[in-house]
Symmetry: C5
Subunit: 296 residues, 5 copies
């Protein structure tokens, strides 16, 4: 995720890091050059049919609405994903406090907390489709070859609790509290998997990209008459807005990727480690810092 404050005036002209231009400049250039060609044809050969503005106004309004819908849907996915990871962090902290109340055995407590961190890293790796990560703890490495590593890590944590409850070292109140907490964590995990496995319906991508390009290709026919040589500039600006938004929504709708708008899962995992360190009697590690404005 790009972490920058409100852009300054200088940023407006120069910022590329965090901008969407690098992804769309090829398409933009192609559209502008095509428009230049059309205007030249119109100027020299007078063969271009002219369209009145109202012919495409409603088309443009419809396109705005559909892009607006897709933008909302993509942003909602991104923000829901962020909420789920914020909830995972809160649940891990709550879990650490509850084991302190309900699990009197310190060694078991530490093992359970380490296992919960192992779960979080395994969950992060699953979402990012990573098969190896030297930064992950031993508890994560132990489950990486399982079909569902995050579930396997959670199952191991649950097995510790089940054994302790049957052995009587955790009482009924504790078993109720801790299973409820693990159930809550499972729910957040499944929410993340839902977002990762259910992309926005493909038909929208097709409909919106096809419509955006058609609109940008029709625009010169409308503008060539009244706007003349400014047509390529205006087509360029309109295409920048519409293609830019389409690209942003593409990125936001995949919130777990490591793109400029992906969520900083590694930083959240680190925040969980910092939060649990006092419960493990350890010195907390340093928080992750953005590198070139990018927080991984």
């Amino acid at each position: 995720m790009i972490v920058r404050e409100k852009p300054t005036v200088a940023d407006l002209f120069t910022a590329l890091r965090g901008s969407v231009l690098p992804q769309i400049w090829r398409a933009l250039l192609a559209l502008v050059l095509l428009t230049v060609l059309l205007v030249l044809l119109d100027h020299w050969l007078k063969v271009l049919p002219h369209l009145e503005g109202t012919a495409v106004t409603v088309f443009g309004i419809g396109l705005s609405l559909f892009l607006g819908f897709r933008n909302n849907a993509a942003y909602d996915r991104w923000w829901e994903a962020r909420k789920l990871w914020g909830g995972l962090l809160a649940d891990l902290r709550a879990f650490a406090r509850e084991v302190e109340v309900f699990v009197p055995d310190v060694a078991l407590r530490h093992a359970m907390l380490r296992q919960s961190l192992g779960f979080l890293h395994a969950h992060r790796m699953s979402l990012r489709k990573m098969t190896a990560d030297p930064a992950a703890p031993a508890e994560t490495q132990a489950v990486l070859h399982d079909p569902l590593p995050a579930c396997a890590a959670m199952d191991r944590l649950n097995a510790m609790l089940a054994e302790a409850y049957r052995a009587g070292t955790v009482d009924g109140y504790g078993a109720r509290s801790l299973t409820a907490r693990l159930g809550q964590i499972s729910l957040q995990q499944a929410g993340c998997e839902r977002i990762a496995n259910s992309p926005l319906p493909f038909v929208y991508s097709l409909l919106i990209y096809r419509t955006t390009y058609l609109y940008c290709l029709l625009l010169p026919l409308v503008l060539a008459g009244p706007a003349g040589w400014m047509t390529p500039l205006i087509v360029g600006i309109v295409a920048y807005v519409f293609l830019g938004l389409a690209e942003v929504t593409e990125e936001l709708s995949h919130p777990f990727a490591t793109t400029a708008n992906g969520l900083p899962l590694s930083a959240i995992c680190r925040a969980a480690e910092i939060s649990l360190a006092p419960h493990l009697g350890e010195v907390p590690p340093a928080p992750l810092k953005p590198v070139d404005y990018y927080l991984s």
Copy 2:
């Protein structure tokens, strides 16, 4: 559900799988041919009344808004259905962990887990109005002749729990935890049934389809003058956007159907089987893969 990534430039021109074109090409063609006819009539006989653009601009804006509303409502249904199935998956996993904590008897535990999978398959078959499915487990086959198969499967699971609680093999904490979990599963089940049994109000379909066709029929009267021979092209594009969106919303609002945008219920059932396999001491089956981009 169609599982494809962001369309490439080539896809934009050629993709039919996952596109909405196959459903609407007949209506599109009819509208375009009708427009050609109108333009010819206008050209030869000068009998066509001409309309100024503003006459239909507001009409078009209104239509965009109503289509936008329907699109939001349909997408919300689809996404809520996906959330409910994600929640069912999470609850089944949490149930598996809770029985491990609270049900000491291994045979009973396995029976309960198998019954919960039987419930999930029965629920899937109810939503898809299937009366037989060889892939469903024995626990599902046993309830298929019940008026409400999914409820019957859940009732059997509950009966196991009730018996165990009265026999004392499950304690009070366990009974509380497990009934709460089953209640949560029931809530998600009823949510799915609500979506399946309450279509979007029929009056919207009527209002929107009638208005879309009226708009596409009025458009030639507006465009025939200024746009001339390009009129059929523009009518075709506008009709593609509006009819396409109407068709997409029709599919999304039935999220449990086996259409291109239906949810992959079979794949989620399989995911549940994979998740529960370790608790049953079994080798997990392989996850379902998309066939020709389609995941059932």
Copy 3:
């Protein structure tokens, strides 16, 4: 509620059942005749002032937005009401399962389940302002003369539980579980009453109907010039869309009425009876079927 599938082409021309035309044809006809009169006056006497399109474009866009808001608000009320009844159904099923676990006495169990069905019917009758219904069970008839019949039925159910808990036939875990379930049912009940007792603010109805009529009356002044004899047709179509939507929102915002878009409360009560029949050891009744597409 009207239960029909996606309209066919034939339906688009002919469907009246489930359409909004029967409610608005008088107003539509009056507006169209008035427009014909205005156009005739304009043609014969040239006394009609002409307005340019932009004068009313913004007005029309504003009107679309306000109608869109009202539509969203009305649909949200309708869908929230449907969710609440879906939740009631789920809670009744969960209640049936929980009494099976926590209430060992079969006679008491059956009495509690019958009472819960009595509550549901009393709740339905309250929402529909019915004072008598032969189809309601004896438990409902017994409370019909109470100021709040649904609350009275629930109080009786609660009294059974209180007595059993004090007598020791239900243990503490059961009392906690069952009171929590009844509290959940109460919450859904109060949600329905909130929707029934708090209509959409009256000021919106006034503002929107006044504005819609003003808009339809101004439109001929804009169109009489450019559109000529097609003016009545266009005014008719625009009025159909705007008045139709206003009428739909009026119906949807009263989701418990027995109109074409009212919720099928009787069918949901029947579904609850079918779900509870196995717990009562009874043969489940048949589900309600739509009559002439209408499910009550």
Copy 4:
């Protein structure tokens, strides 16, 4: 709150009760007179600059969107406030049932229920900034001089429970259930205080009122040419819609006031008294009725 059904045709012309006209007629009249003056100046002196429509179309669309946002935000506040009071009613009913299950001592039970009603009235008076109300029960009068009367009433109720739990007259299950219920009530109370203490950001009011007046002042410059003597009429209608909506949102965003769109808090308090009467062994009072369509 104004309680009226769908307006009839007669209402459309005459209804003032529940209309927003009484609040805005002065501003409307001033704008219309100013427009008349401008048109006269234009007619006599030809000094008025003329603007083309498109110059203000986008401005008007932007204004519609911002008014639409404010309308949504205000309505959401109003509906959330209504939900919170519906929730309070449900929670009080559930509390009454839970004390019946868990508090065997009838005198204590009645004292707790009376105290809960005292809380509700104190809460209503706080939200409406009332310092005295003869209709409030004795339990409310006893806490009115406290800095936070509603909290004080709730603290007293909680003290009864704490004492009973320590004395052993309420068991652990009851203490858990009842504290959870009181916590739920506190949450709804804090939600109401949040809405009452956090108005919509002032900057929106300023931005929207300033923009609306600027728009209505620019409109004559656009219309004076094409619309001529109808300009004051159109400006009047547009101003009616925009100022009317601004005024409605102002009222709806203060849902606890005693305006035409304020929530009927007194009627809900009475509904709670009716619901709790059977638990107190009392005859329920009559529900509050609207006076001149107004329910307080």
Copy 5:
């Protein structure tokens, strides 16, 4: 947060406190002066290309939609932050009541309550990035040098509970209730941190500011012809609306800052102190009052 009522007519002309003008007047002035220059150039040299209105209408509509989206997203962040702090206040009150029920030891009870207030102040200081605040209580000062002060304060509170549960001075029901409450508080805390650490995606800021400036620079080319000398005025008004809204959304999306639209965290902390005073046997402090309409 600025606390002012509905603006009067005088406020509309003069209010700067709470207005967005102070932040944007420089940009506004620059745009207006540039427009004056362009109009002069057009008047003297006739070199300015003229654009027809429709060329930028769709662009303006798109811009309105994107600004509208950003406005919604920013307001949602602000309101969610307010909800979370309202929830924290409710949870602290509920916690105070639950310790009264479940913690018989008065000294421990007071220590826990003081610690909970220490947590709230530490949380406020973290969100506002304050490293020192003489107004914070001793419990907050004790954790300020911790990497995560709010978590450290909460951990200390939890340690008191854990010790008391093991010592038997708090029973199992109390441990369940109080850990659940602390878990709830943790969730709200993590929600606030999520909002503070996840700004709106930077790419939106870039896209919207770039588009807004481009639009305001294109506008003179459209208006110079038809609007003539009024062009600077209209550009000024449009820029006021669009830049003003962009600035408002910038402030609202950082709800914990001490800007004019930041949330009054200090006042909420004080409200918590007032609410808890009776439980601590102390005289409640006075609530914070706005200074020059500003509540910190």
